[in-house]
Chain length 304, copies 4
């Protein structure tokens, strides 16, 4: 983000205690509070500027309770396209089926948990039984699939069969928002696909590439909000190697540049690849997304 | 923090957009959002339970614009004692003198900045001139000191000469809140002390130990809020080696346990040293304090 | 790792200065030096115990110069199966074609680099031209592919056309070591596949699942060495949801558990999912793999 | 570090397996392996160039088994001055008295440990009894101190009473190497000082400042090796605010710049403060020091 010259660090104004007021006030601070304020402002600019906005979502965001934010962002027009992991899709289905995730502990005895058929995701527990329910739900869908489908096409097949109105897969289906899942095979959904598919059905990720390229070639302002790196980040950014680059980008990550990996890479680095336009506004917030994302969402709701 | 059994991960409720409502809602999420919610609740318990609350403050929090939060916490009764670094004291004086800190960039040319007499603290710039003003302010104070003073005693001498009502040193003086600075010598204040002191003046940190021990021996509930590790954390916790341990503790840090250092050490580890009581409630939030601290403060203002 | 009771922390013995001696000596230290020593010992146990060893390799390891280690591990029998990212495959081809990667700087001007057609990977530069050479090499291979191939099958097609004897794709082909690349589409190879493929060719990741399951169902000791998390880690571990779990596991990562993501998840957490057997030995080394991996490899060479 | 233009990333040469050969080879890699190689080379330059070398040592390095490295560095002339924490001094005394530290576990039950009088430092246990022995050793030394002493003066009083030839306090005494401990009061040594001191004894940290300034004003090449940040880093660097800046600097840290604190601050940032000379060579290695420090030491032993 560009800053004007000679501005002073100031005080956060606590005379109002709504989220958007506090975040606005953080523009005059430093470190990641300032970055959060810049990200909020840039996100608002994207929405009011009618950007086509990709949200890339890695990390266990659905088990962590972020699903209504994703669905809400779709409802409100804050996302035009979602790119997420197979795991987030599976856990969305677990929630959509009403099974849900248990509030657990991060200092659990994992062997004991295994004995109780509970799987741990840091401080969240998932009952083994949940995956059976997912299998019961998915297997009839999978077994009738034929030909080659991209993941957005497959996600529509799933979304239209979900009844829970809070499900982002359902909302995406209704709003015709494409949901890419370039690591769908890297999840329990993938295991079920390998078991129940017809031999003439192919999950065709190369078709995903063609479809995301079509979106990247649109002659409208294009923005990306990157939550947590991974394949969703890379898959979305790499499409721009063939197109002209994003016009604006926000990144929320807990990874660091100095390890050399893509998840922690700066958005400046992405400019050397022309994945972002030279003049693109960009800001990275180094923060757990379970904190930054809800506050950003509340900011958008409050200020738009 | 203890959690009840079989609670489900839920949705954050965005029907109200004030900070305390959002943070309360985060109790049903996971990772550091849940930790933030637990920390907020525990902090409120400390305040309503009339705990004597130590705030330990490391990291460049004052250059980052957190000074009115510290002063406000003192005004509102959210802190009973402050333990901070010499650097935060020096930068507080820079602000109290009206000089302030400039909003800078983290990707600056440092050699060029040096040529412009600007010192960088990540994305904040400080004019070299500021330290001359600090010297002009401090040297007459220092040159008249005699005998042996603890840092809380010295901080009172400074605080009573500050006119800025937003200064935490001024507020601490007025409210009789002790301010320990066990690394005062590790700052430009320390350099000035070494230059301007009388030969018969001693900065007596061993007296600091006696004085913090007196506070730790009080027969009232004792809590600690740890921002950022370092000597402020260790100095405060180690006093409990001779006393009975804290009754409650909150830690905000970006460090991690696996490097083995004290700044990243868990509060559970502190129980092995009896620095916390066995049954003490404790929660660590892994987050940049420039984000977590303002939201916690807004939560307290909003919910108390 | 289990430790015996009451052992004392000791001194590293520098009377010999070869890598294996120093690492052995680190068993009596702490933090990640001790973890490195345990990992080295466990890796040697896997090799001498004739384990079938999966290496999962995420992060920009090939641009960082780790390719001869991967190839060497295959030659020496330290790896039985490789699971890596599409990016590492692409950069391997760049090296195998003799183009290579330039030693760069992490504090570069990225817009200027873009103008010079140089892409930055932290402190490594890749000439844009390299990707044209990759395209020239891959396009004739791709255009003759038909039917549905798994990535190990496709990697064999590539490996057998590489002449560079230092290429891990070549060595894997010769040694009949399966190379899975569950994110092959998430790379420039993927872009080329989407452009040059016949309409009747499918990259069939569900076949990958079947093939890795076959490897996981082998009735021999199964070990996994995880470098850097990501899809390679998850894809390999999740196969064990249907099988009996790994007998031993080593993880090298710079990620941390407290962010809740899979890349930073402990190997203990994996036991709650039965991805590791209850009694499996496991050790995580928190370290940049560019440091840990060469030293582990040197240790194996030296001690076997 | 400056790099020459257009050098290619290469292979580590494993034809010899001694540490210095492997590290030398890492110059042609990337990320922190390359940084480690640059640090090793720069350290060797400092030693062969007869630099006066400050080692600043934070973190629990002595409990982690690094003491013979510190002592060895003093013996071999790799350190001219040590700046370390009070905690490292205390744990050095525990080792020097033959009590030592127990190899423990990081996933211990801390309340149970407290019941067994064992204190945990990540994966190291210290018996409570050790601190009684330290008290028995220190109390007669302390009770005869009078006047005002700097910490290097006090460390000499301690060092000359230690019999263990592997003790860095003993070696420093014999070799007349100053040992600063600007956080000595922030340790159990400090607690004992507060209990046993004469009322006319002062631990005079302002004298420390004068003494480190004298060292920084020497007209010889001055280098600094920073292990782990904290007060040792800041106290040593800040002395250069009054002098001309270091000629060379190496930093080993697990902290990151983006949190804004001094421990993670880049050495480039230190140039904006003139703590390093404009043209000073500098390199940061992001790595647990328990791994990087032994390998650096072995490199120096091997290559000098």
């Amino acid at each position: 983000m560009n800053e004007e010259e000679n501005l002073k660090v100031g005080n956060i104004d606590f005379s109002k205690l709504n989220v958007s007021h506090i975040i606005n006030s953080m523009k005059a601070t430093a470190f990641n509070a300032r970055r959060l304020a810049y990200a909020a402002e840039l996100y608002r600019e994207m929405v009011t500027g009618n950007y086509f906005i990709f949200l890339t979502l890695a990390g266990a965001m659905i088990p962590a309770g972020m699903r209504n934010i994703v669905a809400g962002m779709m409802e409100k027009g804050f996302i035009s396209c979602l790119v997420t992991t197979g795991a987030n899709v599976v856990h969305e289905i677990i929630d959509a089926l009403g099974i849900g995730h248990e509030i657990g502990k991060d200092y659990a005895d994992d062997v004991k948990l295994a004995g109780e058929n509970k799987n741990r995701i840091y401080d969240v527990f998932v009952d083994q039984h949940a995956f059976e329910e997912v299998e019961n739900f998915l297997s009839p869908i999978i077994s009738q699939l034929d030909g080659n489908l991209s993941t957005p096409e497959l996600m529509r097949e799933v979304g239209k069969r979900i009844k829970d109105k809070n499900s982002f897969l359902r909302v995406a289906y209704e709003k015709e928002i494409p949901v890419f899942s370039p690591t769908l095979h890297d999840s329990i959904f993938g295991l079920h696909l390998s078991i129940y598919r017809k031999k003439t059905f192919y999950l065709d990720f190369l078709k995903d590439i063609n479809q995301i390229l079509d979106l990247c070639f649109q002659k409208i302002p294009l923005g990306v909000v990157i939550v947590g790196g991974g394949v969703p980040k890379n898959f979305t950014l790499q499409a721009m190697l063939l197109a002209e680059g994003f016009d604006a980008a926000i990144q929320i990550t807990t990874d660091s540049p100095q390890w050399g990996g893509l998840s922690g890479a700066t958005l400046s680095e992405a400019k050397s690849w022309c994945k972002l336009k030279e003049e693109a506004k960009e800001v990275t917030v180094y923060c757990d997304a379970t904190i930054a994302l809800p506050f950003l969402y509340a900011y958008l709701l409050d200020s738009l």
